[in-house]
């Protein structure tokens, strides 16, 4: 079990793990490994885009212990649960999603994990949940919508501390199905470069088709 790039993500025989903050709790049926008195939960990089990016050799995630994370597009809470492992008990993850169907699962997970907070809100309207979140160190966005980049920038401006990191997974097919993904990635890159320092960029092939992962730093 060795740490990957000081991400608080651990690697063993090609598989990725995080140090679990709960005991005997694996809501997604993921494997739990015990190593030197700690529990580690396995993160499937074919299911989580963050771990797909780490698998592809991401140099920086920016997520540290004790950080406050705003997670847009949390869905059932698969990746958020691992992010909450990474930030540990001192940190907090605000999990935001728009669909009540997935929220039902998420609330049940949030009740067991003390550093996760559910929010039923629309990510495209950041002003509506202004009072319900704290200024965050990390903004993670994974929403498959047409206005992904605009939403990301709006939230970066409103909810992120200066010097904080923004992580964006971009699904090219949601932006425009008729255009080539590469074109959309390049366009997004130039839009982001205008405002922020782009720290890293990975395409998530072959784990996710037509997806890219951006890491940017707010000045």
């Amino acid at each position: 079990m060795e740490e990957v790039n000081k991400f608080r993500v651990y690697k063993q025989r090609g598989r990725l793990y995080t140090k679990s903050i709960t005991k005997n709790f694996s809501p997604f049926g993921e494997k739990v490994v015990r190593y030197k008195g700690n529990e580690y939960r396995e993160a499937n990089y074919e299911r989580s885009k963050l771990f797909a990016a780490i698998k592809k050799g991401l140099s920086q995630t920016g997520i540290k212990e004790g950080h406050k994370v705003l997670y847009l597009g949390s869905s059932h809470g698969y990746t958020p649960s691992f992010v909450s492992d990474i930030v540990g008990k001192g940190g907090v993850v605000f999990c935001l999603d728009f669909a009540p169907t997935v929220m039902r699962d998420l609330v049940i997970i949030c009740e067991k994990r003390e550093n996760m907070i559910p929010l039923l809100a629309d990510a495209t309207k950041p002003e509506t949940y202004k009072d319900k979140v704290l200024k965050s160190d990390i903004l993670y966005q994974d929403i498959a919508q047409r206005e992904q980049v605009e939403t990301f920038i709006k939230n970066m401006e409103m909810h992120l501390k200066p010097g904080g990191f923004g992580l964006l997974t971009l699904k090219a097919r949601s932006v425009d199905v008729t255009r080539k993904p590469k074109e959309i990635f390049n366009e997004t890159m130039s839009v982001l470069k205008e405002r922020y320092a782009v720290v890293d960029y990975r395409e998530l092939d072959p784990y996710e088709k037509d997806h890219a992962f951006f890491v940017v730093k707010k000045k």
Binding site: P100, M103, V107, C110, P118, L120, K132, T178
Partner: protein
């Protein structure tokens, strides 16, 4: 405010919001999904029943092509004489058990169909009259809600359920699809020019959806008449 307090507040608020999020759209979508699933399951289970019944009464099995009729025939304990049929002995009970299961599925299906009909008569009377309960429910499912049907375009209604073909058309320039889930409507089935019929029907369904969502009057018979005039087709 401390994080702990914030968490408690958000948890309570989210739970309340989830509770209040249940509406007619979700019920309709769940019913139509269940109905489709039951249809599939019934068909494959009746196939197994046929295999079994063939051993006992091959003549009756080949005579009755209607699945529901076959189940009734098995349950009534067919007393006709059969030359090829074997005596099943203890497995007579097995046969009856499978038939009972099929009957239960048919009963549930009938119940759900009636429930869907009465629900849509209240929730979307115009669309229900114009397109029928099944197509209305499928349209709501594809669009996710009646609101989206009412605020969307009629060309969207025409294409709902044919997304795969539509995106193939957009990506590679293949022929565009003419209709989605509305294809099962008899207006389209009976008309030779299917594209034209689909266009006109989608147009009127769109008006009906607007009437239903904004709680307008019941104008569906008028809409049907307009379609008939346009297509010179009698219901």
């Amino acid at each position: 405010m401390s994080i702990k307090k914030l968490r408690e507040m958000n948890l309570a608020e989210t739970k309340k919001a989830i509770k209040n999020s249940v509406n007619e759209d979700i019920i309709v979508i769940n019913i139509i999904n269940t109905l489709e699933e039951i249809e599939k399951q019934t068909n494959s289970l009746v196939m197994r029943l046929r295999d079994f019944y063939k051993l006992k009464h091959p003549e009756a099995e080949s005579r009755i092509s209607d699945n529901e009729g076959l189940v009734k025939n098995v349950l009534s304990g067919n007393k006709e004489k059969s030359v090829m049929g074997a005596n099943l002995g203890d497995d007579e009970e097995t046969l009856q058990k499978i038939a009972l299961m099929c009957k239960e599925l048919y009963d549930t299906k009938n119940f759900l169909t009636k429930r869907l009909e009465s629900l849509l008569q209240k929730y979307a009377p115009n669309m229900n009259y114009l397109a029928g309960a099944t197509i209305t429910a499928k349209l709501i499912r594809e669009a996710k809600s009646l609101r989206k049907l009412a605020t969307g375009k009629s060309s969207t209604i025409q294409m709902l359920g044919a997304e795969k073909a539509l995106f193939r058309h957009l990506k590679s320039g293949a022929n565009s699809p003419k209709h989605g889930v509305i294809v099962n409507h008899q207006i389209i089935q009976k008309n030779k020019d299917k594209g034209k019929a689909a266009r006109i029907l989608a147009d009127k369904i769109s008006i009906a959806a607007k009437l239903d969502f904004f709680k307008g009057e019941f104008k569906a018979p008028l809409l049907v008449k307009e379609i008939e005039d346009k297509l010179k087709w009698k219901k």
